[in-house]
Amino acid sequence: MATKTLLQGINDALITEMERDENVVVFGEDVGINEGVFRATSDLQKKFGKKRAYSTPLTESGIIGAAAGMSLYGLRPVPEIQFADFIYPAFDQIVSEVAKFRFRSGGQYPCPMVIRTPYGGGIRGGLYHSQSPEAYFTHTPGLQVVIPSTPSDAKGLLASAIRGDDPVIFMEPKKIYRSLKGDVPEGDYTVPIGPARIAKHGTDVSLFCYGAMVPVCETAAEKAKEKLGVDVEIVDLRTLYPMDEKSIIESVEKTGRALVVYEAPKTCGYGSEVAALIAERALDSLEAPVVRVGGFDTPFPYTLEKIYVPDALRVFLAIQDVVNYA
């Protein structure tokens, strides 16, 4: 075990998987000599050469379209989209092509790849360096969507994604890229895609979250214990699709109260799906309405970012509302 940041966990997975499988190639804007604008691709070009780790021209649809062709021919491309906000020029390639190749070819042409992209607020990035577009992709059949919140999950989930047989949108919470440290197993290490992680066991209320909202929920849970005597369970969903329905339902059956916390605009965000699942499958267990704590239904602002992204206080107040519901 070594103590690493989430960013180092990602870098570790890339290096480990490139060593393990020569078909793994990494490319995207500035990922070569510059090693990525966040340095997620540190040392890749040095270790594996320009043939396997390189910068591309500035065309996201080109990056993903080329990755699709490589994948069809048997490589395991791990393209990077520099910010999730810039994924939309590649949206057509992802949604129309990559996601549908397996299905439309009767399984003859699967198109596995891992599209890595930093997402979310917290770096004062305004409209175009802060977005959380996960719901567009969880709404697209054929794609897996994964968001780690710890350094070891970052490594283990990315390794599983690269070894998997389906295309994965691997979204990285850039706010906690460097701020969060944890033990990461050395060498070959995977965390299966699918199961959620119980980040904290509790009995009174369930908090469902992912990515950079996990540490926010952990702080809110500590405060809820301290100020309200409420024992919060935190479920880090970490694989958004396929969704771990069982873990969600079991937690709600235990606590009877549920909140979903996410950064994206509240309406039709991923939390809405979690809330709907609970309404369909665990209504009889509920003692209070399911509450979504999300971003507001506005584009992501610059100066007012601090009120836009849910923080521990907003989550705490929402927990208070849910617990006090008569």
Binding site: T59, G62, Y128, F296, T298, P301, L304, I307
Partner: protein, 367 residues
């Protein structure tokens, strides 16, 4: 070689004034270039001392910005990308108004919604820009089609870096421009780098401007560090567009003397020698020397000008720093023409609890 594929023009370094310019025009071009350079230096200082969060400077690209705005009418529209704030200054926007945007205060034209350097100024016909690369090029073409439709004589000018010539909408823009021949001038500001990626690995063609030819858009290449050459190419293209003779693509060859942004470290990917070599072609120094050759400037006058402009820049950025942040409820405006009921409810719930959120102690948990 076709006439539209001209070589870079030789710079005008002779003793005689360039044809068609008055001394006042030339000195104004220089004043604008100095203002851009001084503003960029101030931005860097403010960013390094933590007074603004982020900045992008256009050091090395002053000639293009000064020349284009001088050649166009002030009523022509600009569809810029993120390294062209100098054009706003050239059109008379105050340093304070730009600084309001950098500080993200309540005086910003766009209510501090965008991160620094993403300006909007309708009065100066400087169209709101996004960080997404290349998307605005086709907007300029569409606006030009609209001007053509209405019979107006407004010309649209739009700009993209060397990296942006790989973007989807560079292709879309040239496709439409070639077919409909609207009054648009498209500029490629080839500053040699897309963040860390050199232009030699961005495009397999010998030159970027030749991309226009394939779409039927007449294309030229000029020395982007030569303010007179850029002016002349721009004037020719704008006049042609205004006469109804269609679009032009102009590649301005220059060099990004600074980092991509305050978040970037160019020593990771280019050599000091290369940067030193490029600095010798600094367009501001070069034009100052030309003006001195022409007898329009001497060292004393140059220093007086710099001192005056630097003082103005410091004073006006300090003014901007005095303003506070926009009111919270402004976040919910302008998402739609009229705030929808569900969004109004989000706003009202937030505002009802504003007192629960004492943000002065940010980082601390107030309850």
């Amino acid at each position: 070689m076709t006439p539209t594929m001209s070589k870079p023009k030789k710079s005008n370094d002779s003793k005689s004034l360039p044809e068609g310019f008055t001394p006042e025009q030339l000195l104004k071009l220089y004043r604008n270039m100095v203002t851009i350079r001084a503003f960029d230096q101030r931005q860097l200082n403010l960013q390094r001392s933590g007074r603004i969060g982020f900045c992008v400077v256009s050091t090395g690209e002053e000639a293009v910005q000064a020349a284009v705005t001088a050649a166009l009418n002030d009523t022509d529209w600009l569809f810029p990308y993120y390294r062209q704030h100098g054009m706003l200054l050239c059109r008379g926007a105050s340093v304070e108004s730009l600084a309001n945007q950098l500080y993200g205060n309540d005086q910003d034209h766009a209510m501090a919604r965008q991160m620094p350097v993403h300006y909007t100024d309708k009065e100066k016909h400087f169209v709101s820009l996004s960080s997404v690369i290349g998307t605005h090029l086709i907007h300029a073409v569409g606006a030009a089609m609209a001007a053509q439709y209405k019979g107006d004589d407004t010309v649209m000018a739009t700009f993209i870096g060397d990296g942006g010539t790989s973007s989807n909408d560079f292709h879309s823009a040239l496709t439409f421009a070639g077919v409909y021949k609207p009054p648009v001038v498209m500029y490629i500001i080839n500053n040699k780098y897309a963040i860390s990626h050199p232009v030699s690995e961005q495009c397999g063609a010998e030159s970027l401007h030749i991309k226009g030819e394939g779409y039927g858009v007449p294309s030229v290449k000029v020395d982007g560090n030569d303010v007179i050459a850029v002016y002349e190419a721009s004037k020719n293209a704008a006049d042609k567009a205004r006469r109804g003779e269609g679009p032009t693509l102009i590649e301005c060859e220059t060099y990004r003397m600074g980092a991509h942004s305050s978040s970037d470290d160019p020593t990771r990917y280019r050599s000091q020698d290369e940067m030193d070599e490029a600095a010798k072609k600094d367009p501001v120094t070069r034009f100052a020397n030309q003006l001195k050759n022409w007898g329009l400037l001497d060292d004393v006058a140059d220093k007086t000008l710099w001192d005056e402009i630097e003082t103005m820049v410091v004073d006006q950025t300090n003014e901007a720093e005095k303003h506070g942040e926009p009111a919270w409820e402004t976040l919910f405006d302008d998402v739609y023409a009229k705030v929808p009921e569900s969004l109004a409810r989000q706003r009202d719930e937030l505002m009802a609890r504003e007192s629960d959120f004492p943000r002065e102690n940010e980082g601390e948990f107030p309850l």
